[in-house]
Amino acid sequence: MNLNVPFALVGYIEPWWMVIIKSVVFAFIGLQLVPVVLMMERKILGRFQNRYGPNRVGLYGVMTPIADIIKLLSKEPFRPKTAIGWLFELAPILSITAAFGALALVPYGPVVDIFGTATGLYGIDVSIGPLYVFAFGAISFYSVMLGGWASGSKYSFLGSMRAAAQLISYEVPQGMALIGVVITAQTLSLTGIVEAQQGMWYIVPQFFGFVVFMVASFAETNRPPFDLMEADAELTGGYNTEFGGSKFTLYFFAEYLNMIVVSGIATALFLGGWLLPFGIHPPNWVAPFIVIAKMLAFVTFFIWIRATLPRLRYDQLMSLGWKVLLPLATLNALITAIIVVA
């Protein structure tokens, strides 16, 4: 029984009620991962800097993110006099919407049997694959841009302008880096790409693609060393300077969700998704845990880089994107195409 959606075919194999349950569950997983990542970041950064990290709230400080969220949500909603009302309200909502939309693509497992119903352990499996994520990336750009512009503050505006230039520069090499994977797997569907990695994870044959994709992803998610739009020493805080309370929470969550989404996509594209190496075939119910473990490994890598590398200068960022990453990604796509065809 297929779900009769009026939109383009997205390959639902479940009945409609399962699709609804699935969306709620995956949204929940995403939301639950955010505090985990938040806590990981603080603890790991603390260890990198030779200190304990937060350890006051709860056992070993595990309740710190909860305290954080309660603090943020109970703050007074404040709006600068120069802000443009409805855009100021809309921008954070756009940001979290785009993040959740992209989250739907992360595949957690193959099609399994739940209570006698065949269910794919993924939000959606579209034939356009990673392009779907890029579409939401375009929308999240507007949330940053509108947030900075509608704040009516120079610093926010400068931050969002930097973001604009950075996002359009790094979208190109990020997309080009994926072409190698797509050519090798001969499909755009993420579950198809994972299944095609049975023999070998694509991190091995597509190593250059992987490196370019990761560097571009750091820039796309505005993580250090590419967090120029939030460079606090120059811009006080970037596009979200004027946002407080629950609006800031939305931006904050969206930023971490974007990091989780990129980790999930990278897991599916390069680390074989729910597959394990050395011919180990665990039962299907283990698959989501494997994916989440790999995603958290990526997140740890993000944090590691943040603790290690200093921030780039703005012109370095631009020339890295256009003069190094883009030619590398193009060359990678070209060579892959020649090898696959020959």
Partner: protein
């Protein structure tokens, strides 16, 4: 359900298109153009053209409009657009002529084929319709010539952009702070060489170049000496 979505998105598309023309603030004009483009993408989705829909969002909303937003947010953004020029009678006549031509063309299309197909079910689609694989197949077989010509056009545009940017050859020693917009801040960009602010304000094209001897001299003097000290 499809009908409901169609009318919602069509409404947004029309409202966005109207907003581009009607709104006075250029930033809002650009935003409503974005709304229009995204609604069009959703209409493409209803037609099962997923690849076209995503390409629409990534290329138009994600790249082209980003540039528009960029420029307008930097140099535009006032409540009233600058009255840089007013259309001459000849331009008005041309505009009316082209407008009515498009109207006639659309009327022919609607009255000729679109109306008669209203009551029908529409074409039957294969399961792979609108997927990237099918589009790629068509582009590299049936429409190869058009595809290659379009890529050549883009290549020419890219080379042209590089050549234009290269011809300026940087900033010469004696070219100082001539641009009247920048005031005391020393920005080493000679006037009328195609900076973004000039492009939007029409500076150097519709307004005569200022005489650097007369205009803004007091303002620029300290900045220029400071820059010379640095050298």
């Amino acid at each position: 359900m499809t009908f409901l979505f169609f009318f919602i998105f069509a409404g947004f598309a029309l409202a966005g298109a109207a907003g581009v023309v009607v709104l006075r603030n250029p930033f809002y004009c650009v935003l409503s153009l974005v709304v229009h483009l995204i609604s069009l993408a959703l209409l493409f989705l209803l037609l099962e053209a997923q690849f076209v829909a995503v390409a629409q969002i990534v290329v138009y909303a994600g790249a082209v409009m980003v540039l528009y937003v960029f420029v307008v947010a930097y140099v535009g953004g006032g409540d009233k657009p600058d009255q840089l020029w007013s259309a001459s009678p000849r331009q008005k006549a041309l505009a009316i002529g082209f407008g009515s031509l498009i109207f006639i063309e659309l009327a022919i299309a609607i009255l000729g084929t679109a109306l008669s197909s209203l009551g029908t079910e529409g074409a039957t689609l294969s399961a792979t319709y609108g997927t990237p694989a099918e589009i790629g197949q068509l582009l590299l077989t049936d429409y190869l010539l058009a595809f290659e010509l379009a890529s050549m056009l883009l290549l020419v545009a890219a080379i042209g952009a590089v050549a234009l940017a290269g011809r300026r050859g940087g900033i010469a020693e004696d070219e100082g702070n001539l641009s009247p917009r920048h005031g005391v801040v020393h920005t080493p960009s000679p006037a009328a060489t195609g900076s973004m602010a000039e492009g939007v304000s029409g500076y150097g094209v519709t307004t005569p170049l200022p005489d650097p001897q007369l205009e803004g001299r007091e303002l620029q003097q300290p900045a220029r000496t400071a820059a010379e000290d640095d050298r």
